[in-house]
Amino acid sequence: MEIMNIDTDHLNQGITLQDQNTSTSQLLTFILGGEEYGVDILNVQEIRSWEQATSIPNTPDYVLGVINLRGLIVPIIDLRNRFEMERAEYGPLTVIVIVKLSSKSKSSRTVGMVVDEVSDVYNISEEEIGELPDFGSIVGTEFIKGVASVNEKMVIILDIDMLIDTGVLGNDAESDDDESQALPAIS
């Protein structure tokens, strides 16, 4: 059993030394099919190496199943699959980013996301986040907060709360319909 748990506190520390500015947020970015995606680092609980999940019957394809995270039963979702991207083989670099949501009044949820690899941690101020142009219904944009460019690269910033609440758990009553429009149903 190889263990590759990275404590995000270290990442945090490294970054706070560089910049103490409060208006900036820190992003953890990861690679998904060559594209770079970012999530607010405060949502990230830990990063784990890939492990086989126990699949749950009658759930959408992007829910790979559940794993045992120190006694907690945590669902694992495949982000490539969720975003209708080409499937990838799970390899040694494949990691699970464990994110924790304590949004709204609901009890906090812990969910794992499978990504190709973890990339970097950036400081990004609010002004640097630009709006995503309207693509119509080609790409679902409800989970995307905006885009920012870091070192000439584009980083897509995800809205984790939206992604997990409506995109994975389907808590929103109308999300089922929205989902099928924005992201064609997975067969």
């Binding site: 126990t54 019957p57 009658n58 829910v63 120190r70 006694g71 039963i73 949820r109 808590n171």
Partner: protein, 665 residues
């Protein structure tokens, strides 16, 4: 002494304490038996009433303090033997406690209460103690009466007392005002007071909400120790109190008393429990569970490495294992509470009901300390109450009938709790009339629940009482026939993973036996394999496991598969289809069929292999994901992997709706 404190912030404490007082009054009143005047019990009730009266007065709830004052007068007459304790008197006091409770609740929620009820009870109280509403200030009146009662050697004419009254700093937080106490003392006789200011801090450190003063008081008159102690009764524990009688030297007994009392009080508060959120406990349980798994992995690794040759290492490992197990058991036990908590509701119900029905019932508890999971405990209350109600309503006969049958006038209901092999058993037995099996059978036949002429054993007939729509009582009283029948009792208990059984003998009584799992968090499971997936099935509903060949299945309309199980055809559930699991390709052995009891029906689930039996900790899928049809939850197996727990009842329903088709989410 005027300190500006917003009293409303202490209201919560006042209400909490008052409700505690009401609980005490209620339970003590029920302990009181007609004809005998147990002074100890009456005093306990009196003290509870007195402290509610006092704090209600401090907080300005004058109706409450006036009302309690009326109660006090009656109680005072009781302890002075001026009033004979009758069943009726107890009932009046109980309804007074109820009214008091109502008043408190309505004050807390700031809504009006039913004044007619209160007036009614007040009138009853005043009839019992006609002098209740005289003009004498309450404190004076009750203490002077207390004086008469105390009597004995203490009743010497003139006595001088030295009182040292040193409140703790937080006195005001309990809503007490020393000035009020001192005034009350002053009313007792000749009075001199000196304040002690030694503890007063510098002005900068002074907290206006704290009490830094102490007082030395001399008082002379026809005063007994009890009177003085009563004045201070509800600051007891919030202050240091020294009461000495002058002239006479302090008797050694007295001297011993005060430090001992304060000492005991202290340990009392220390051993009190603390409230912890169940989330914290569950987290702890999770971590301990992980520890157990790590432990077992460690054991296996050691075996693989051939390290078991090293004796010392092995001993350490064994020690660690023992400690881990013990830690797990201890953690589990945090969630356990004594069943006593649930039993507390019952005496009042028995009391009210037996009076309403003109029956005499004694209630006996045993095994109250038996511990049960908190969640189970919360849910068992209603079924238990229902069974007790039933026992009084249908079981216990009226005194004249009982006497004519040669039984004692008083009926007895016994409630017993005990541990039996991983289960907690609750027995509710009465010595009433028992179940009339002829009538029960007749009703069952009438309702087409049983075919006429069917041979049934006595116990089979008795257990029909749990079928919906059956009642042996001729008339529907206001107690039974509210739509909550024995079938609901049974369903509630099976929801908890428990069972209920009845034994009865006509004329002698009935016994209901409820057996409950120790905890909801743990399940006795059968570990099975379907394809490559491992599932846990709840052991308690498994009927049997059979060898199964595909040729044994019969299809109906090519959709539903049936299996001939003994004399009936039972539906077959194939998880490979229902859960879309890749079936095992190289079948070198026949499959197995696990047959489940679902109510009075059966279903069979096809599995590839039965791996073994294991106790598993049930973990929710909903916490981080959402509930999945057909599953009750998940658990972590010995190797750290996750296995899903099947919801057999849910599967059966799902199967009925869709057949063995995959339900797409």
């Amino acid at each position: 002494m005027e300190i500006d404190i917003n009293l409303s912030q202490f209201h919560d404490i006042f209400f909490e304490e008052s409700f505690e007082g009401i609980e005490i009054m209620e339970s003590e009143l029920l302990n009181l038996s007609p004809g005998t005047a147990d002074k100890e019990i009456i005093n306990t009730i009196f003290r509870a009433a007195h402290s509610i009266k006092g704090s209600a007065g401090t907080f300005g709830f004058s109706e409450i303090s006036d009302f309690t004052h009326n109660m006090e007068t009656v109680l005072d007459k009781m302890r002075n033997d001026e009033l004979v304790i009758t069943q009726q008197l107890i009932s009046v006091l109980l309804s007074a406690v109820d009214s008091l409770n109502n008043m408190l609740i309505s004050h807390r929620e700031a809504r009006p209460y039913d004044t007619t009820l209160v007036e009614n009870v007040t009138a009853q109280l005043e009839r019992l103690a006609p002098h209740a509403s005289t003009d004498t200030p309450p404190a004076k009146q009750e203490t002077s009466q207390g004086n008469r009662q105390a009597g004995g050697s203490d009743h010497s004419p003139e006595q001088r007392w030295r009182i040292g009254f040193f409140p703790f700093e937080k006195l005001f937080y309990s809503g007490n005002d020393p000035l009020r106490l001192i005034r009350e003392l002053k009313a007792l006789g000749e009075f001199a007071i000196k304040a002690e200011v030694d503890n007063l801090p510098d002005f900068d450190d002074l907290d206006v909400h704290n009490c830094y003063l102490g007082w030395r008081i001399q008082i002379q008159g026809q005063i007994t120790r009890e009177q003085i102690e009563e004045v201070f009764a509800w600051v007891e524990g919030d202050c240091r109190l020294e009461i000495t009688r002058e002239i006479e030297r302090r008797s050694p007994e007295d001297r011993r008393k005060s430090p001992e009392q304060s000492g005991r009080r202290k340990t009392d508060t220390e051993s009190r429990s603390i409230r912890v959120s169940t989330d914290k406990i569950d987290n702890l349980l999770n971590l301990v569970g992980e520890l157990v798994i790590t432990q077992s992995i460690l054991n296996r690794v050691c075996n693989d490495l051939g390290m078991d040759s090293s004796d010392k290492f092995l001993t350490c490992l064994e020690q660690l294992e023992r400690n881990t197990r013990e830690l797990q058991e201890q953690t589990m036990s945090i969630r356990m509470l004594p069943v006593d908590n649930t039993f507390q509701r019952i005496p009042r119900i028995v009391h009210d009901l037996s009076i309403a029905q003109g029956k005499q019932v004694t209630l006996e508890f045993s095994g109250e300390t038996t511990e049960l999971d908190k969640t189970v405990l919360e849910k068992i209350g209603d079924p238990l109450v229902h069974l007790v109600r039933n026992a009084i309503d249908h079981g216990i006969e009226t005194p004249d009938i009982r006497v004519s049958k040669g039984k004692p006038e008083q009926g007895t209901i016994k409630i017993n709790a005990s541990h039996e092999g991983g289960y907690v058993i609750l027995r509710i037995s009465d010595d009433g009339n028992g179940i009339n099996s002829d009538k029960l059978l007749a009703t069952a036949i009438e309702n087409n629940l049983v075919a006429e002429g069917e041979e049934l054993s006595e116990s089979q007939i008795h257990n029909m009482i749990f079928l919906p729509g059956l009642s042996t009582s001729n008339e529907v009283t206001d107690i039974s026939g509210r739509g909550v029948g024995m079938d609901v009792v049974k369903r509630n208990i099976s929801d908890l993973g428990g069972t209920v059984d009845v034994w009865s003998e006509q004329g002698t009584g009935s016994t209901f036996t409820i057996s409950l799992p120790l905890t909801l968090a743990i399940l006795d499971g059968q570990v099975v394999r379907v394809g490559k997936q491992i599932f846990i099935m709840p052991l308690h509903s498994i009927k049997e496991t059979l060898i199964f060949h595909d040729r044994d299945a019969n299809t109906v309309a090519a959709k539903v598969e049936l299996y001939k199980y003994r004399d009936e055809y039972i539906p077959l559930i194939r998880l490979t289809e229902l859960f879309n699991i890749e079936p095992e390709t190289s079948v070198d052995h026949p499959e197995l069929l696990v047959v489940f009891d679902i109510g009075d029906k059966h279903i069979g689930i096809v599995v590839d292999d039965v791996i073994g039996q294991q106790q598993v900790v049930i973990k929710s899928l909903e916490n981080n994901y959402k509930s999945v049809p057909g599953l009750t939850g998940a658990t972590v197996l010995g190797d750290g992997s996750v296995a899903l727990i099947l919801d057999v009842l849910g599967l059966a329903t799902q199967h009925k709706e869709t057949g063995n088709r995959v339900t797409t989410a």
